[in-house]
Assembly symmetry: C2
DNA sequence: GGTTTATCTTGACCAAAATCAATAGAATTT
DNA sequence: AAATTCTATTGATTTTGGTCAAGATAAACC
């Protein structure tokens, strides 16, 4: 149990047996069926979810009722509304399962406790946070500086597994485009993948 | 010296006198004249800069030679190419001063040392990192889901000081727009500010 | 197995932003 | 003080992506 989680953890910060045991006490397993919600807007994000198996997404709904996907997450990734989780304010995001999922949940209480009592958790969290920031920075740079064709090419290059497992119109939504436009981009660049 | 830096630090994590002294040993003051570079693309980002006074920006240049501003930073903010800083790979970003600046520099060596020897620095860095991520997430959400008018309104609302101190065409660049389009947005919404 | 629903593509048309160009006022430089 | 550079606005035109609509295929559901 928790194989993917601890393999990721040990890849970033090496844990001893006893440390691993200590962390384990704070974790909760959870299964989610496809289309089930982990978080709905208006609620407070009470847990961060680490994905052992499956695929999830987070999205917001704008004033016209249109969905906009903020992020995808596959095995080995974490998902949650960090802003709501840390401040305990209500969230504007929705998070649901794109496939049946096996998750490892970390509650706010568990998170706060581990930050205090398991120094390596603080390190692990800092590293994940930094990596997430760098990835988001890269995405922002590509939005403000690249052509749509290049943005899509770089996306399939960086996340081929997402392209394979997620419907195309959701990738369009993630890029801030209409499905029709993404379809035309693909035909322009030769439907690679 | 370092007033703004330590006031920010203590706001996030309270330091004792001796801890403050320990941190001080790792800091380097630096003044930059307007238009001077802190980092040029092709170089490795060797320091993170904390701004005591002045204004800076980071930007990338695309394949057509066009500049795209990634971020602004004023007093109390930090700036640097985190990806290059942490991995010690060459940077694609340029960082320069928009006004004469007084900076506090933290080198990679100082950063690594403090992470090990000053636990509260690790906490401080984790908190800054988390806040930066949340801000960038908010920006990304606004890009994929809001109208340009609303994005600009929310920008002047959130960063009135930047709007006042930075030329309009740079704000257009930061939003990924042409200067003409931003000018037209302003005339549409009534030139607020 | 057959129906319904989801997904993707393509075309026609429309709306929005980019580009090109000209102007004018501010701010810097010399 | 004059000249130069930077900045912002406005108009005309072009380009790009969005919207609407129809059709085709594939997948999920009963």
């Amino acid at each position: 149990m928790y194989e993917v989680f601890f393999s990721k953890f040990n890849e970033k910060v090496q844990l001893s047996e006893s440390e691993e045991y200590a962390v384990k006490q704070f974790l909760t397993p959870k299964k989610l069926r496809k289309r089930q919600y982990l978080l709905q807007e208006g609620d407070i994000c009470k847990t961060v979810a680490f994905i052992e198996k499956g695929a999830m997404r987070s999205y917001i709904v704008d004033s016209n009722g249109q969905e906009h996907i903020f992020s995808f997450a596959l095995e080995g990734w974490a998902i949650g509304d960090l802003s709501s989780f840390l401040t305990e304010q209500i969230s504007t995001q929705n998070i649901d399962a794109l496939e049946n999922c096996e998750l490892v949940l970390i509650s706010k209480y568990a998170h706060d406790q581990m930050l205090i009592s398991v120094p390596k958790y603080a390190t692990f969290f800092r590293i994940l946070m930094t990596e997430a920031y760098i990835a988001l920075q890269k995405r922002t740079l590509s939005i403000i500086s690249m052509s749509l064709d290049d943005r899509y090419k770089s996306f399939i290059d960086q996340y081929p597994d997402i392209v394979q497992r997620v419907p195309q119109h959701m990738i369009a939504s993630h890029m801030g485009l209409s499905p029709e436009t993404l379809s035309r981009i693909r035909s322009r660049i030769g439907k690679s993948q």
